[in-house]
Amino acid sequence: MEFPQDLKYTEEHEWVRASRDLAVVGITDYAQSELGDVVYVELPAVGARVKKGASFGVVESVKSVSDLFAPVSGEVVRVNGALADHPEKVNEDPYGEGWMIEIRMDDPSELEDLLSAAEYAARVE
């Protein structure tokens, strides 16, 4: 199972790719594997506010419904619209085409609370 070094992680299995005040968010390889076939992803609209630790959407597999939790607070500036027709991208490419939203962070120092790849891997392996 793969956990790229350049990403930060939450205990709820989201990943964050940060650059300056922008943070791209998705779910980890571990999360997609636990969920199984992803068939529906419900995401906020561009412009919506998300709050660190609060639910910003839902990911559904054939068998289950899971909340998505925001790793950082801020405004949603981009949403991966391709997931509406191709939710399976979350399984196939969780760190790439399976990305979910991009947040303009209110406070990039919130990133410091997140887990490193090694810390996250230790929790799920």
């Binding site: 076939d37 054939v62 068998k63």
Partner: protein, 380 residues
């Protein structure tokens, strides 16, 4: 301590994700529910379902006991045939739904849901007391059970059995046969997927040999191992009820559209008066099939609303009328579907809405089953 089937270690060694189900540790999937599901629709799938309960009912009193317990007419069941039936309480609520195989003279095997095995056994035994000349035996641990389901199921099994399977019709069985050299097997043309297929009962201690032989054939024909996840989505596409969802102690078989399996004219049985009254009145609520018209996935327990035309601007109003009993994204039909228990029933074409986390998602009542054997996948 969870119970394990004789094939437990084999599943783990073959990559199964194991989950607790009705007190058993069972494979829920091996690779992907969607892939396993579609393998059954297009080729063949192999399922270990040894968690199902087996209750053997034997003796001259066997038929009268079964006739008293279940709603279908067991007297019309000739040897080497199987029958599906609900089993009800006095008030018509459903205790379980089961298959009854007629193995030989005065000899029946009732196959019940794993979650209900203990309760069913107690129910059978309580009613057998004083009934005279009938033995009720718990054979759950004696039998391993696997299902071979899909259009290529016959091709899988034919080289492994003596009988000509072309002549084994739906809901017929071969008791006391051998499968891949393992004797004492029952091979039945039954299943729970909406496809052609077989259910094979093997003595638990000897199942490995038969399973390996069947698995070899399944692989050769591009089939897959399938877990309970695919079993659930397959049965839902085929609109087959799952106990605990479409059937419970407070849902009667008429509400669940199982009237064809309730034979009021067969003579007295538990629940007959209540079911006769319910039939005369017409069921107050009825199971219907829903297809969502927008994105979203209906799940068990979500409220269903009846949509009625509203203002001239095309708006509509909604009134709660029932709930989803089972729902999923149907892997073969590739659309969100649900079974729902709806007050007053509903006719195909009628507009409904499903409350998905506070959002009313429009849905259409569709004819059941959602999937009929041999139908092509949409867009294929």
């Amino acid at each position: 301590m969870l119970k394990r089937t004789p094939l437990h270690d084999w599943h783990v060694a073959h990559g199964a994700r194991m989950v607790e189900f009705a007190g058993w540790e069972m494979p829920v999937q091996y690779t992907s529910v969607v892939e396993e599901h579609n393998a059954v629709r297009t080729a063949v799938g192999l399922f270990d379902v040894s968690h199902m309960g087996e209750i053997r009912v034997r003796g001259r009193g066997a038929l009268p006991l079964l006739q008293h317990l279940v709603t279908n007419d067991v007297s019309r069941l000739s040897p080497a045939r199987a029958l599906y039936t609900p089993m009800c309480r006095e008030d018509g609520g459903t205790l379980d739904d089961l298959l009854i195989y007629h193995l030989g003279e005065d000899d029946y095997l009732a196959v019940v849901n794993a979650a209900n095995t203990e309760r069913d056994l107690a129910w059978f035994r309580a009613h057998a007391e004083g009934a005279g000349d009938v033995d009720v035996l718990d054979e759950t641990d004696r039998w391993a059970l696997f299902a071979v389901q899909g259009p290529r199921a016959e091709e899988v099994l034919q080289p492994l059995v003596e009988a000509d399977l072309k002549r084994l019709r739906y809901y017929h069985c071969i008791p006391g046969t051998s499968l891949a050299g393992v004797s004492g097997a029952i091979v039945a043309r039954t299943g729970y997927t909406g496809e052609d297929g077989f259910e094979c009962y093997l003595p638990a201690g000897a199942v490995h040999e038969a399973w390996e032989a069947v698995w070899g054939r399944v692989q050769a024909l591009n089939g897959r191992l399938c877990g309970l996840g695919a079993r659930d989505t397959l049965r839902l596409e085929a609109a087959l009820p799952l106990y605990g969802h479409e059937l419970t102690e407070t849902i009667n078989p008429l509400e669940a559209r199982l009237g064809a399996f309730v034979k009021l004219e067969k003579g007295p049985f538990i629940g007959r008066e209540a079911l006769a009254a319910a039939k005369a009145e017409g069921p107050r609520r009825r199971l219907c099939g829903l297809r969502l018209l927008e994105r979203g996935i209906p799940r068990a327990g979500y409220a269903v609303h009846r949509a009625s035309a509203g203002g001239p601007d095309g708006s509509w109003e909604a009134e709660p009328c029932g709930y989803v009993t089972s729902g999923t994204f149907a892997p073969y039909l590739h659309q969100p579907i649900a079974l729902a228990l709806v007050g007053g029933g509903a006719a195909p074409g009628e507009r409904m809405a499903v409350d998905i986390r506070g959002r009313l998602v429009p849905a259409e009542v569709v004819p059941l089953p959602f999937y009929k054997r041999g139908a092509a996948a949409p867009g294929s």
